[in-house]
Assembly symmetry: C2
Homo-oligomer: 333 residues x 2
């Protein structure tokens, strides 16, 4: 297997300490390549980067007609949220509106991603609940699909459940490819995840951004999800996070979403382009540096947008005493 190019490096003092390889592709809705580096045909697990694609099942299965999801709820369905106050309260309300509670969530519980939220929970002597799980909004959306389909919610995370079949069908429809059993795994929140080429993920995002190649229902659902995410960027991630900061800066022009193990996906909506990026070794900071470099080059940022991206394209490394001793930075691939 040919090695992907080095797209980020960690420098300590005056010497490179670590190297991070990766691949990316930007395509339009027809799949024409705008830019790429590395092997974009190798299937990669998208993890949380495609939550907005998975959320299309909400529209497919007419859950919106039953529950009239608010934009906040749709944003949370697309989110890897940080367990801050507004995240927890909105997910809690979302579940309550459906007659459900955190006891119905099958994502498991983990400490909030946000430092202050985590410290507050610790200080109060409380354990985290499934509401704090970064995926609790996505799972609430999946529960709404189960209720709309009239199937039992229990076991909704399993591959065999009608909800996951609906989610898989929505993703396959939007990328225009089958997800196959020879490249399937279980995600951190217990739902199935399928690997597909970066080229397919990028094309799916371009189709969602433009509606091109999608029927009217999917096009409208995709637009509603992207509008919700870009209108409520804090709900999609959290304070200070790249996804939130970048979407805040770009207004509605750009939908950006990270996934575990170095995946970054999104769409430059006004250009009609989708993109997908994977850091080979799964390092998240490296993937942030890489995607910031990609967007600086291709997303036509204005001064304010550029300033935000520049905060992520070079990230200082500090030692135990807080002294800056190096940085992670992008490398031209």
């Amino acid at each position: 297997m040919d090695a992907n190019p080095i797209l980020a490096e960690a420098v300590r003092g005056n010497w490179v300490e670590n190297r991070h390889r990766g691949a990316y592709v930007i395509v339009d809705a027809d799949g024409s390549v705008i830019a790429s580096a590395g092997d974009v045909d190798r299937p990669v697990f998208p993890r949380s980067a495609i939550k907005s694609m998975q959320a299309l099942a909400i529209f497919d299965r007419h859950a919106t007609e039953k529950f009239h999801h608010t934009p906040q709820e749709l944003a949370l369905a697309c989110a890897s949220h940080h367990g801050e106050g507004d995240h927890v309260s909105n997910v809690s309300h979302f579940l309550e509106r459906m007659g459900l509670s955190d006891a119905d969530l099958e994502c498991g519980a983990h400490m909030p991603t946000n430092d202050k939220a985590r410290e507050a929970l610790r200080a109060a002597g409380l354990d985290p609940s499934p509401l704090h799980n970064n995926c609790s909004g996505k799972h609430s959306g999946m529960l709404s699909v189960a209720l709309a389909m009239g199937v039992p919610t229990q076991g909704y995370v399993t591959r065999e459940h009608d909800v996951q079949k609906a989610v898989r069908a929505a993703v396959e429809y939007v990328i225009g490819e089958d997800l196959t059993e020879d490249r399937c795994g279980t995600d951190g929140c217990s739902i199935p995840t399928w690997a597909a080429p970066l080229r397919a993920w990028a094309k799916g995002f371009a189709r969602m951004a433009t509606g091109s190649g999608l029927d009217a229902g999917h096009a409208a659902g995709a637009r509603a999800l992207f509008d919700a995410a870009t209108s409520h960027p804090h709900l999609v991630a959290g304070t200070g996070h790249l996804d939130t900061r970048v979407m805040q800066a770009f207004g509605g022009r750009l939908m950006q979403k990270g996934g575990a193990e170095g995946v970054q996906c999104g769409a430059i909506r006004d250009k009609g382009w989708g993109y997908a990026l994977k850091c080979d070794d799964g390092n998240m900071t490296a993937s942030h540096v890489m995607i910031a470099a990609l967007l600086l080059k291709h997303a036509d940022p204005d001064a304010g947008q550029r300033a935000v991206l520049e905060q992520f394209v070079r990230q200082p490394t500090k030692n135990v005493r807080g002294t800056i001793v190096g940085e992670m930075r992008a490398v031209e691939g």
Copy 2:
């Protein structure tokens, strides 16, 4: 730059999610190569993997004659300890014996590496002290060098201080190469770190293991340090850690020490071989998998030693609910 080979991969379900490249070399004290993979001439920061080399300054500067360091103190001088009870109490006693305290440590404070020690500190509502810093034993050894040299201890972490000059000279002597200013950085604990080829680090460890190429004083110092580390493996790392587990299993046959950002160094003492390994992207779990594979292949493990190494050569990945969803595993380079 040619890509180093893939030496570890993370699998999720039935598909490879992440790939980790690296390089390693095993040499004898003359520098003859026993085994290698990748570019072993590219200089890499050794970080904490060479604490035992740095500790040779204790012997060079006659600190042992002044303080008669115990084996426990020498083991801690070579350690990245986990802040457990015996680590903290031994370092505290070490400082006290020299008329010093944690206020003299310039490594900074961080939470204990060990989960239980960290939780206990949190439960007691206490902040970590510099004693909990994984490098506090090494820093205590450096303070003993300052006192033996009759120089002020203050600023002992800086490149210009006589202590760091002594440490640098000891490392240069044992590897038989100059450390140069064009590849220098600051370590996590604020002392300088210099990059040198894996080949040089491996040769230095082979020389320390055999005494070959070293004068009698350095040979005796190296033997005392390796004996101390291998006799007190829990002090060198902590409960459950690869370095501790492997040294416990191998008795005195093997000295093993990890360093931040995916470095692994050591010596197979009965064979007279030194080794050095670096994971290109700095992933520590990947470097553990890689070094376990290397030792399984080259260290002639007996059944018990093999059983320990096999626990590290394939490491399960769990999701939020604790289900095993994949593993990190070694790849033949």
